[in-house]
Structures are given as structure tokens and as C-alpha cells.
Point group: C5
Chain length 322, copies 5
């Protein structure tokens, strides 16, 4: 589905143009065309391939989707795959993709399986013609920057989730819930990491060293994207590391809790074993058991039992078992 | 066993030719020969070595089999070893191998211990003569692409298996079954990883930087293979990582379950210890135990015991022990 | 908030100058200006950008804050981000930032969210004009050196904390407290690591190999900073590694303690089970139980029970269960 | 102890020569001398050093032994240290060493603390004069190949051992035996790894890139050795990884078993606690306990107890506790 | 404290000279001065700095001490920091340091906090003038070699300690002692690793590739030092790895032991529960319990109890629980 197709001249918008008119504008100097598609059909991709002369393999990737983030050069055209990450209404991570073809005088972005648009990016770019004049490379930067900026709230949400779990990790009886939540969180972190890590590696090709011609004028901007990605990657690694430790700590806490329960069990079992032993003694049927005949025998026996058990309770208490 | 032996001229099939006629076609310009063997005998390998002038060490590797995936240059000939991975009927992973010798004007593939053929690859290539014109390097790509594409369903199956296990990891009493299945899954993942990881490393030699002459015209295609392998490797690493975490989580769950059982044991032991203590008291043989003579002594005693135990049961219940 | 703004000529302080006079001094040879801001307002940053011709992206980073430590070149200007780490009164780690812009003839430092000033650095520099003559690069070194030196007491505090925990790790009943403190310590270590690790990597750009012009004359000094950072990084890695082992060891200790408790429980349960069994025997109602009629039956029975239990106690004791 | 000392000319054996005649042959063109020593004495090493002009440090290493595998260049002479690994009669790994000095026109091998000879290597070389003509570099290859080929059965034995353990890891009551065997296996793997890993790294110097002159003509062969080592290294890493997982899995199994035992303990304890409670009731001495006077009181009571316990047993059974 | 100060000419000792005469000898050709200090005072360091023209930063490092091992170039002078590791009388690791300044015609070594001297090194050097003629670089080698050689007995001691622990790891009731000793050993290993790892990395600068002029003539010797360090590093890594596994194995053993104790507890509890249940039956007060009146009732009952318990004991025994 075509979202929009606009021609720019020296950083200023010329006009919305029909797809058929693209080739006319491509031939003009200082001019570039910026086309945005969404969940593009086979026909639209084929048309785009014809108009911009895109490579078969890149188009095939765009058709299949489910690519890992990457930046590939086909002649003087860059093919960029980015993951779009967003929370679904049920708080799960949903993955979309955007494929960006960037040539010397065109940008074609194809967005798949995502509700997040890039209209805001286009508007901001059009408000800064002095930057848009840097050409299609700057548009590529603006799109990548928008995608990467949307990772930050995801990272924040995961960090918040982790902190919530951490707040309960030393509470009693939370072991089962914690471990489930940690495991789920780990899955989310891995999904986000798959969006970030390959991209971080790929972006290094766009600044420093040999840079593709189309990005040369915006090199400092791509370094900025790289820096953002490095920061996100850092946070992700910290979360991953912390989850690992938290799982270990949670296991320790469960073991400690079990150990405490075992101690209490041992203490009470001990107290009642003693009491039961005592009552068993006076339940014996020996003929000569003088205390059985005493007037105060029964209350004395009960007091003795209660006293012994109380003493034991107090000692266990002091030892921290009860 | 010879499967087929075909000569191509400028990307178009000339004819099925007998093995003896190979050398005639090798000398013609723009012409290459594509030979496919299966579980080749010593004699067939020796003949092929003579026809194509292959290196002793490569032929020896092909004869022994059980090589790790690799790409080796012997002069202007490439020797490629790929693992073929397929599920056996009993759902185990079975490994085969294909050895591909690629020279400037020939391709020789030897398939071992595998039911998967490459007839489809040949047919697709013959339908696209404009690509097949790229020469023997493109045939090598087509074969590698076919092998690598067959890894994807394996990875999917392993991921599905992992998800099934994950669905049971937080269920009770599944600890033993889970750990067995996780361990078995890990073995499969390692087997697949051995097919993928060395190949991923080796394929980097076929695109970017100094590329063997025979692959030069198909460089972008080999980058595509590399990209697929990187995606598979990524999935494998995620599965491995997740298995590790799942084993830890499973241990935590088992410990948590044990802790819950211990608590229930402690609770019931406590309740019955109290009850037994009470009945022990009134089993004592003191002469002066007035309650024994009461008309309602017995029912009162039973009620007292029942009440105390009920109270304990309720408190344990509230504490989550029962 | 402007802290101070001073012009230097050949390493000697000329005068405190108003911000408006900066551009006058920038044009003079052998002269540089050193400006220090604190929690700079938008207006101050904008003014500084105009005076020194700073890059948009760098200024934007300085405005947003919360950057990871880094060293970036914009033309002949270096943009350095450092983390300031200090203990809050409640013994938590608090992060601040300092952003340093270093051009051929100016240094601009902007300190954010930190109580630690750099007045001492300026005074020490002014006392050594022969070093300050090296120019703005040396000032950058002096500031970085001051920041990095402040990491050492933090590392020491963390090491001390770790040693305190280690002192208790083999004590009984300390499992829960230890694991909480280890987890908290790990968080602090991660925070410090985020300040050190990226900086360590970035500083390698300032010595050896191709060094930015502004730092060329102070190369040996930056190697010194690098060396300090490597030492800190080393200590951090050791602490991290030790925390990991300590968590494992703590879990082992908890399990060992539980095992000991289980043994004592088993021993006492055994002793009382035997005693209860004995008293049960003589509580049976058989008519012919001759010992019940013996004059010394009761004391003999009690002695027998006490003897048996004593014997068991002694054997459990010897086996280390009690 | 001198094993043999032979002069070769253009790949063909000239004659067994006495050690004193070595220098005569060294000066002849297309001629090289191949000397094999075993557990060489000081005097033999000193003589060899004089004859071949070997470096002090290399001779000192050969004298001391217990070197790690390595390949060192001293001028145009290569000094190679290889580990010989063999099973002792008591199934332990025994380490020997072979030191190989390879100059342009000589090979000197010194074998220490090993029963494995290299006579077979010499015979095979002499049967292939066209290869032996490649010179001393090829002899070095033949020796290294022989050593590395002997690692394969060791790896196979370790893999078989691991599979045996794996076959018992999910059996009950095997936890203690498994963990002991895994630990022992790990030791063997580490020993083998010490033989392989440094060598793998060192062999890369003998093929690809800048190769020592003496090996130049046999480069493809050294790549083959490298490939074999990489395969062994791969297997070793898999074993190591699997041992790690197996230890974790074994711990899980032990914990699961303990959990099952705890459940059975809990179940039986519960059943007997109930039974004991019941008999306690009718052991009470209340005067008015009408059931005690019933004719069928006793059998009914016994049946009631048996019934209750049977019901509990059946429910525990269904819950999988018994 | 000055230990000695000697001038050498072409590898032969000229004379012990006073510190003031150093500058006279520095200017003579083929001559170098070797000064050894111990726990040098501020004044001595300042004098040495003047005599040899040492860099401020290096002197500052030497003054502060507590550096990590490193090799730094200041112009044509090398500054080397080495750790001296020795066992204290109480079997703890004690760290000292030696700082070595090596210029084209001087060597200055400063030893701190260590009882180990280098007199032996000097004597051995003086006995081999043909090597000492290589100049100050060879002296540096001789000192480094001496330091590194002293690491070997430390490594051996740690390996012996580890083997002692391993010998007890599968013994019963040793869990607590083992874990304490493993933890302590780990600390020692980390300390030694801090001495070795950074040095290993730094020494690579002294052989192969671009070597500082002062070391050029002794390159092969520094490779030898590197080789020794690599061997030590290898051993350390193995110890570390083994400690990690040993901690895991120890935890497994503790869990297994606990599991065995639980089983014994379960078995005995079961036996006595049955016995207590039986005596409880005949303690009931039903009027019609015919067996109570039998002449042989009591002995039969006791035999029945003993028989049942014996049967249970035998079955538990066979199941390996007792």
C-alpha cells in the first residue's frame, strides 16, 4: 500500500508525485524521491524494482521478510533492514520490519507488520531543509534514528519490569512467581537484542573508515545512531547479566527458605516428640509406678511436660529456628 | 553412483554426456560440465580425479568423509564440504555430507549418506540460463543455497520442540521429563551447530575482500548465503542460551516444588503430632485424672482434638503451606 | 551556571574574562580559554556553541545528558563524556556526568548532577605552567585524570564491602543476609563498570597510533590515564568474578547447613522414635507381661530406655550428626 | 638413544650413516639427513647441537622437556614441540613429548617418555619418494600428521566414555558415580586440550600468509594438519560443553530424586501418623467409651484404621507420591 | 637502599662505582651501568631520575608502587613493572614489585616489599660475558626471566593444593571444608593471575613485529619469557576452570549426601512408625481383644513386631537406602 511518494529538490519538497512520474524526477540534478510503502504487495515491489533498478536478492528479502537487521550494498544502492519492536496490547513484544532502499537520488521504505508510521520523520525533515539538502543519506539517517529511538522506551519498560522483580526477590514465597517472570523477561530481552546487536555491528560500516558514497555527507549522524545503539546494547547486556544473577539468587532464596522451613519442622517435631515420649511413660502399665498414685501426679506431670516443651521452644527460638 | 553428468554452454544445457567425454567439453570456451555423484565408489573418485585434475588431499577427504564443513582452495579449484542434516523417521538428527569440487569449467558434487537430492537445484538453474551463464561459481552458490535452505526447517523444528518444553517447565511434576528433553535437544542443537558454525566462518572467504576467481561473478549471491547462515547461527545461539537458562529454571522449579512438599509435610506432621500428643495424655494411667470419669469426657476430648487440629489446619492453609 | 572562565597564555593565567570576551582571546596565538559550567542552562549551552563553534549533535548530547562515556571527534574538536561516581549519604552510588569540549585553543567543561568540583584541578594546573603550556590537550588530561582518580576510592569501598561479606560467608545462618548484600554489591559494580569500560576503550584513541592533534603533545599522559583505567577495570572484573563465585559458594553453604540440620533432625527423630517405641511396648495390655509385675520393673525400664537413647546419642555424636 | 640416522638424496634413501658423517652430507645439494633420537642424553643433545648448529634456547627446552606445544623459528630452523598422548594400561592419559628440529637440509626428532615410535612414518615416506623430494618440510609434516592422527582414537575414547555416562545420567541412584566419572573425564579432556589448542594456533603460521621457507613447498599439507586439529579441537570443545551441561543435569536429577524421596517419606509418614493417632484414641482411659465394650469393637476399629490408611495410600498413589 | 651499582664494558664487570660516577660511565661507548635499589627512598629515586633522565610519570609510578605489571616506552627507555609473588610463612600469597628502567646504556631495578633478591641473576650474568655483551636489553631479560621462573613453584604449590582438595571432594562430610579451601585457593589464583596476565600481553611487544631498540638483540630471549608466561597462564586457567567445576561438583556431592541422609531418615522413620503403630494397637482398651489373654500373646506380639521391622530393614537395605 503506497503511503506517499514525494519529490524533493535541494532539500525542499517539490510535490506529491504519482509513482509513474518517479523516473522523470530521478534524472534531474539535486533532486531525490522519497517513497513510503506499507505491507507492500508483490506488484508494488515489482514496480519499485523497475523504477529504481533494485537488485533481485534485495527484493527477494523484502518480499519474504523475517530478515535479521542488516545493511547491504548493491552497487551504489544501500539495502537496510531494521526491526520495529513494540508492545502488543497484552504486553508482549511484537516484531515488525522496515526495509529501506537508499540510492543516490531516492529512498524507498517498506514497512511490514507494524502499527508505527514514519509520517513524523518526514514532517521533521521537511521542516529542516538545510539538513534534508544532505540528500537521501540523511533521510536514511532520519529513518534509522526514528527506529532506534523507539527502542529506548522498550528498554526502559524491560528495566522497570526487572526492578519490579528484584523488589520481590528477597520476599518469602515469591520464588515461583519470580522465576516465571524472569524467564519471560529473558525472552523479551532476547527479542530486543536480535533487533539491536546485528544492527550495531552493521552501522559501523556507515561511519569511520570506508563509507558508502550515499552516506558520506551524513557520517557524523550515523555515528550518533551507532552511539545510541551502543547505549541500548549496553543496557540489554546489563539486563541479561542481571537476569542470570537474579535466577541464581532466586534459587538461593528458595533453598534458604526451604532450609528455614526444615529447621522449623525439626524444632516442632523435636518438641512434640519429647512431649509424646513423656505421656507414653506414664501410659506404661507397670504395677509399681508410685507417681501414678500421687494426688497431684497428673497436674505435676502436665506441668513437667509443658515446662520441658517451653524450655525447648525458648532454646529453639533463641537459635533462630522458630 | 553417477546421478547425472551434463555439459552447459553459456548457461544452456548442451546434452547429457558420458563421463569419458568430459575432457572434450572442458577444453571448449564458455562451456562447463556439472557432474553429480552419490556415495561415490573409489573407482569413480579416481576417475573424477583424473578427469578434473583434483588434488590428492581433497580426494582423500572425499574418500574418508566425516569432514567438518570447510572451503579450501587448491590452485584455481575450490573444495567445499557441507553437512546435510535431516530428521530420521525416529526423530533423530542424521548427518550426511556433500563434497563439491568447483573449477573454472566444472562442478563435481559428491553426496554421501543422505536421502536428499539436488535434482531440483539443477532444474531451477536450467530454467534461468541468464544466471547459469555466470558459470560454475553460480552452480556452487545454487548447491550451497539449497543445502543451507534445508537447515531452516530443522531450526524451526528445534525451536518448536523448545517451546513445547517451555510450555511445561512451570508445571508441577514435570521436572524429570523436562530435563531429559532439554538434554536431548541440546545434543541436536550441537549437531546442527557443527554444520553451520564452521561454514559461516568459511563463507566469508567467498564475498568481500579477496574472492577466489571462480566465485567472483556471484559474489553478491554468496553474501546472501552468508546472511542466511548468520540468521541460522543466531537462532541456534538463542536456542543454546535458552536451553541453558531452561535447565537452571527447571532446577529452580524442582527445588521450589520440593520446598512446597516439605512445607506440606511439615504442616501435616505438626497437626498429627499435636493430635497424638493429646490422645497420649488421656492414655496416661494416673489415678486422679478427673476428666476420665466425666460422662462427656470422651466426646469433649475428641472435640478438643478436632478443634485444635482444625485451627492448625486453617492457619497452615492461610500461610500457604497446605 | 558559570563557574569560571579564564584565559591562559603560554601556560600562565592571564585573567578571568567575561564570556563575551572569549572570541577575542581565541584568535590570539599561544592562548587558550578554559571555561567551566555547572548544570548548564539551555541559554548557556547555546552561547557556548556560538562562541566555540560546537557541533549540533555534541551540544544535543550535552543537553540531554545520560550519555555513556565516550570520546568523539568533530573536526578538530574533541567531545568527551565522563561519568562522575560518588556515594550518596545513604551509601548508594550516584552518577553525575561531565562533558568536556576540547578545541585547539579552548576547553569547556560542563558538570551535571554532581557535587564534585574541579577547582583543585585548575589550581594544580596553574601551579605547573610548564605543563599547562602543552595546551588544551593537557587540561583535558588533567580533568580526565581527576575524574579517574576519584574512581579508586569507590573501587576500594566496593572491595572492602566484598571482603566484609566474604568474612561472613562461611558463618552459619548468614546465607540470606549475604545473598542480599552480594546482589546489591553487584549492582554497584555494574554501575561503576558502565563508567569505566567504555571509557577504557575510548581512551586508546588518545595514545599510540593516530592521535587527535589536540592531544598529540600529551600522549604519554593519556597513556597514564589508560593505565589507571585498566587497573580499575581489572579490579572491577575481579570483584565481579568473585561475586559470582561467592553467590555459588553461598548457595553451597546454605545447602550444607540444610544438610546438617537434616542430619540433626534425623538423629533426634531416631532417638525419640526408639524411646517412644519402648514406652509403647510396656503400655500394651497383654495379661502376661511378667516384667510389669516386677518390683524394679519401672526403674529398670526407664534405665533401659535412657541407656539405649544415650548409646544412640553417643554414636550420632561420633558420626558428626549431632 | 639413537634410533636411526639416514641420509636422503632427492627423496630417495642413500644410506644409514654414522652420526659423525652428518656434516659431510649436510653440505651436499638436494640432500637431507633425518635423525631420530629417543629420550636423548645430554651428550647426544650436545652433539646434535654442534652438528646442526641449533640455538641454545631450543636445546635447553629439549633438555628440560615439559614444554607446551609450540612452533618456534630460530633463523632458518624450525623448533616444533608436540605432545604425545596415550592411554596407560590403567586407562589414564599419559603424556609424552616429541621435539622436532627442522632445518633446510635436516630433520632431528627427539622422542621423550612415550612408547609410540615413528618407524612407520619413515617407511611410508620412503615408499613415496616423489613426496619426500619436497624436502625436510615434508618430513616435518609427516611426523606432525602421525602425531595428530593419534589424537583421534583418544578423542573417540573420551566420546565413548561420555556417552556411557550419558546413558546412566537419567537412571536412579547413579548420581554419585556419574559425577565422579564426569569429573575424571573432564581432567582427561583438559589434558588432551593442552596438547591440541596451542598447536592449532601455532600451525596457522605454517600455511597461508608468510610461511617459513622450509615449509613453503608443503603448505597444502600443513593446512591439512590444521584442519585435522580444528576437527579435534571441535570435538574437545563439544565434550567440554557437554560435560558442563551433564554436571548440571546430574545435579538436577539428584535434586529430583531427593524430591521424590521426600514425597514418599511424606506420604508414608502421613499414613502412619493417622494410624497411630487412631490407636491412640482407643488407648485413652476415659470410663465412658462405649465402643470399647462392643463385641465387634476391636475388629471394626482395625478395619476402620486399615480402610483410612488404604484410602490415603490410594490417593497418594494417584498423586504420584508413592 | 642502594644494593649495588656496577659498570660493565663489553659484558665484563669494570668496577663497583659510586652513584655520583654514573654519568661518567654513561658517556663511554660499549659501556653500561646496572644499579639495584631496594625499597628506594624519595631521595634515591630523585637522584636516579637526574642521573638517567627518567620520565616524571614513570618515577611517579615507581614512587607510588601498587602498579599492575606493564611495559612502557618513554623515548628510548623502557619502564617495566613486575610483580614478585611469594608465600608468607602463614602460607598466604604476598605481593612485591620490581620496577626496572632500561635505557640504551643503563639498567635500574627497584625492588619493593619483597624478600627475594636478584644477586644470583647478576652473578650468573657476570659468568657469561658473551651474553652480557648483548647489553642492557639482556639484563632486562635476565631479571624478567628470574621473576617469571619464580612463578613456577607458586603454580606448582597451587596445583598441589588443588589436587589435595580433589582427593577429598568425593569423601563424605567434607563439603564444608572443601568449599572453604576452594574459595581460598581461588583468591590465590586470582592474585597470581594479576601478576601474569597483563605481563603476558605486554611481553608480546618485546619480540616479533616492532621491537624497542634496547631489546632488539635479545629478541629470542624475550620470546622465551613469553613462552614461559604462556605456560603459567595456561596452568592458571586450568586451575581456575577446575576450581569452578570443583565447586559445582562439591555442591552436587553435598546434595547427594543430603539425599542419602534423607533416605536413611525416611527408612528408619518408616520402620519405627510401623513398630509404634503395632504397640499402639495392643495398647487399645477394647474389652474383647482375645490375643491379650493368650499365654504367649506378648512374646508373639514382640516377635511379630521384630519380624516386620526386620523385613522392612532388609528391603530398605536392598534398595540402598540403609
Amino acid at each position: 500500500m503506497l503511503i506517499n511518494c514525494v519529490a524533493y529538490h535541494q532539500g525542499t519538497k517539490l510535490a506529491d508525485i504519482p509513482v509513474e512520474a518517479i523516473s522523470d524526477h530521478l534524472s534531474q540534478p539535486d533532486c531525490f524521491v522519497w517513497v513510503a510503502l506499507r505491507d507492500a504487495s508483490e506488484a508494488e515491489l515489482a514496480q519499485a524494482q523497475r523504477e529504481f533498478g533494485l537488485h533481485d536478492l534485495a527484493i527477494e528479502d523484502a518480499r519474504h521478510g523475517h530478515q535479521r537487521p542488516k545493511i547491504e550494498e548493491y552497487g551504489d544502492t544501500l539495502f537496510v533492514v531494521l526491526h520495529l519492536v513494540e508492545f502488543s496490547p497484552t504486553d508482549e513484544l511484537r516484531l515488525g520490519e522496515v526495509h529501506i532502499f537508499t540510492g543516490p537520488n531516492f529512498v524507498l521504505s517498506v514497512r511490514n507488520r507494524s502499527t508505527q508510521g514514519f509520517l513524523g520523520v518526514r514532517q521533521r525533515c521537511e521542516r529542516e531543509p538545510q539538513l534534508l539538502r544532505l540528500g537521501s543519506g540523511f533521510v536514511l539517517y532520519a529513518l534509522m534514528d526514528a527506529v532506534v529511538d523507539r527502542y529506548f522506551p522498550i528498554v526502559d519498560a524491560l528495566e522497570t519490569e526487572l526492578e519490579t522483580i528484584e523488589g520481590q526477590i528477597f520476599e518469602r514465597n515469591a520464588g515461583r512467581a519470580n522465576i516465571e517472570r524472569l524467564y519471560e523477561l529473558k525472552h523479551k530481552v532476547i527479542a530486543l537484542r536480535h533487533a539491536v546487536a546485528p544492527l550495531l555491528e552493521a552501522v559501523t560500516k556507515l561511519h569511520g573508515g570506508r563509507v558508502p558514497a550515499v552516506c558520506a555527507s551524513s557520517e557524523a549522524y550515523f555515528r550518533d545512531v551507532h552511539d545510541h545503539l551502543a547505549r541500548i546494547q549496553n543496557s540489554i547486556d546489563t539486563i541479561r547479566d542481571t537476569i542470570g544473577t537474579a535466577i541464581q539468587v532466586n534459587l538461593s532464596m528458595v533453598t534458604i527458605e526451604e532450609s528455614e522451613v526444615t529447621k522449623r519442622l525439626a524444632a516442632w517435631a523435636g518438641i512434640f516428640a519429647v512431649a509424646t515420649f513423656f505421656v507414653g511413660i506414664w501410659g506404661m502399665n507397670f504395677e509399681r509406678m508410685p507417681e501414678l498414685k500421687w494426688a497431684w501426679g497428673y497436674p505435676v506431670a502436665l506441668s513437667l511436660i509443658a515446662g520441658t516443651c517451653g524450655l525447648m521452644w525458648w532454646r529453639f527460638r533463641r537459635a533462630g529456628w522458630l
